[in-house]
């Protein structure tokens, strides 16, 4: 199993309630900002990927709402909020 497939399988064990809309966004025009690289390696759910053009994209499904990206990249780069009440990950063990 590739590293990413293994991670997806692991996230598949968690309970997620559907998100109304993405609660974290890369601010428009910031996709190539070097500060985003820390989220590519740092995001525990591996939700940030860098494409061949050097742009970082974020796929929000599987977000563990830890806030690592907010601390690592900063709020100039990310528009960061929590999901609405009752949405997102719901830990059964924690």
């Amino acid at each position: 199993m590739s590293e990413n497939a293994g991670l997806k399988a692991k996230l598949g064990l968690d309970v997620f309630k559907p998100l109304g809309k993405p609660h974290i966004r890369i601010r428009p025009g910031m996709e190539k900002d070097s500060r985003l690289k820390a989220a590519v390696t740092g995001c525990p759910a591996g939700l940030y990927t860098e494409n061949e053009k050097g742009e970082v994209t974020l796929a929000i499904d599987g977000c563990l709402e830890c806030g690592t990206c907010r601390i690592a990249c900063g709020t100039d780069v990310l528009d960061w909020n929590y999901p609405q009440g009752g949405e997102g990950v719901q830990f059964r063990f924690g």
Binding site: L11, D14, A45, T68, Y82, Q90, R92, F93, G94
Partner: protein, 427 residues
């Protein structure tokens, strides 16, 4: 506008401790929790040390849903190839009422929320606080779920990021140097296997800390706690160090840790039940923001109340205690009918006189002393190299003990060790 005496943001340990205490005094208190139920967003390593908080909640602990009483404390220095482990067991860890207990927060916090509800606290799950309501510099309530709610005091217990404290102007977004990320798997494992592998009896458990190759030299470490029928295993890495030269992703580091022979034999046959991640404030005293303002008190992780002391990483006792003292501060302010910052300053002095800020002052130098890459790479490698050669029987004749050690610990090394010891004397 609906009105409460106290609005608490976040049903974690700080928020629930405050709610439990206030409701016990007949205060009209509501806890707003963004998760589906109290505990749904909460994660820790984790283990709770009971001694400091036992007296604050005297009748609470008997039926607490602890996982296991920790009776073995282990530390393992992981080199790239090999490791050196040390384990401490003490009768005092075993003796009632117990020293520390492993917990799973989703279960534990739900239970604590029920205790607060029994005393009359209202807990509203599925409720995200959008922002504090601020009027002329004073917090008068919150907006949550599109509705405005008023309170004499808002107690902000919304975790390590505390967007509420930011929006109230009491702090600025944090720095990568001041936070770590913890990632964890809960691995379901038969209690019989746990007993055999960790040499514990029913209800007893083990805690282990791993330093060195687990973080590839980055500031942090690995941890393992036994629960009733599962094992919590994970690692903690300072965010500033992520994506450095090593540039292995955080999930890949956790997988590599689990594949270490020291670990995989412990979790063999188990099945991962949950994967979680959480921020940890690690700046200690230096990073502590304002603890209160007009109409607002901040407690728990939201106030930066966590300490990484190397051998022990603590936050939950500080959360419980700060929630308790936030409640006490409200009660004193209520007597005066004054909820301004000068009146709520009593929160700071209560914390100052308690183990919470005493610990923070005692260990003020610890983050800087621990911020030494030698602890996370050099010493684990050195320890393993010395033991490797001490145990080794080569093809030819074996060196004497002394010259074997001296091969690794030369005068330059001794000098470096002395320098590190001198720095460590500050902690």
């Amino acid at each position: 506008m609906e009105r409460f005496e106290v609005i608490i943001i976040g049903a974690g340990l700080a928020g629930l401790a405050a709610a439990y205490t206030l409701a016990g005094e007949g205060i009209e208190v509501v806890v707003l929790e963004r998760g589906e139920f109290p505990g749904a967003k909460n994660v820790s390593g984790g283990r709770l040390y009971l001694n400091p908080v036992r007296p604050l909640f005297p009748s609470l602990w008997e039926d607490a849903p602890f996982e296991r009483k920790i009776v073995h404390e282990g530390i393992t220095l992981l080199a790239k190839e090999g490791s050196v482990a040390l384990e401490y067991s003490g009768e005092e860890l075993r003796r009632p009422p117990g020293h520390s207990f492993s917990v799973l927060r989703s279960r534990f916090d739900r239970w604590l929320a029920e205790r607060a509800e029994e005393r009359g606290a209202a807990i509203l799950p599925n409720t995200l606080v959008e922002k504090p309501l601020v009027e002329q510099g004073r917090v008068i309530g919150v907006r949550a779920g599109g509705e405005d709610l008023a309170a004499d005091v808002v107690i902000s217990c919304d975790g390590a990021l505390s967007l509420t404290a930011e929006k109230a102007g009491l702090r600025t977004p944090g720095f990568p140097r001041d936070y770590a990320v913890g990632v964890k798997e809960v691995i379901a494992l038969d209690p019989g296997k746990i007993a055999d592998r960790f040499h514990v009896s029913e209800g007893e458990g083990s805690a282990r800390l791993y330093l060195g190759d687990v973080t590839k030299g980055m500031f942090g470490g690995g941890f393992l706690y036994t629960n009733r029928d599962s094992i919590s295993i994970g690692l903690v890495i300072r965010i500033e160090d992520i994506g450095g030269e090593a540039a292995r992703s955080v999930p890949a580091l956790l997988d590599a840790f689990k594949e270490r022979p020291e670990i995989c034999s412990l979790v063999r046959g188990g099945t991962t039940a949950e994967y979680s991640a959480h921020l940890i404030p690690e700046a200690a005293l230096r990073g502590m923001g304002k603890l209160y303002g007009d109409g607002i008190i901040i407690a728990g992780d939201a106030a930066g109340l966590a300490l990484n002391l190397g051998l022990t990483v603590r936050g939950m006792e500080y959360a419980l205690a700060s929630g308790y003292y936030a409640a006490q501060a409200f009660l004193r302010a209520k007597e005066k009918r004054d909820f301004s910052a000068p009146s709520l300053e009593v929160y700071r002095s209560l914390l100052d006189d308690s183990f919470v800020l005493k610990d923070f002052r005692n260990f003020a130098a610890t983050p800087d002393v621990l911020d030494n890459p030698r602890y996370f790479e050099h010493y684990p490698e050195l320890a393993a190299a010395v033991f490797r050669d001490l145990y080794k029987v080569p093809a030819g004749s074996k060196d004497t003990l002394f010259s074997t050690v001296r091969r690794h610990v030369d005068l330059k090394e001794i000098w470096s060790i002395l320098k590190d010891l001198k720095k460590a004397s500050a902690i």
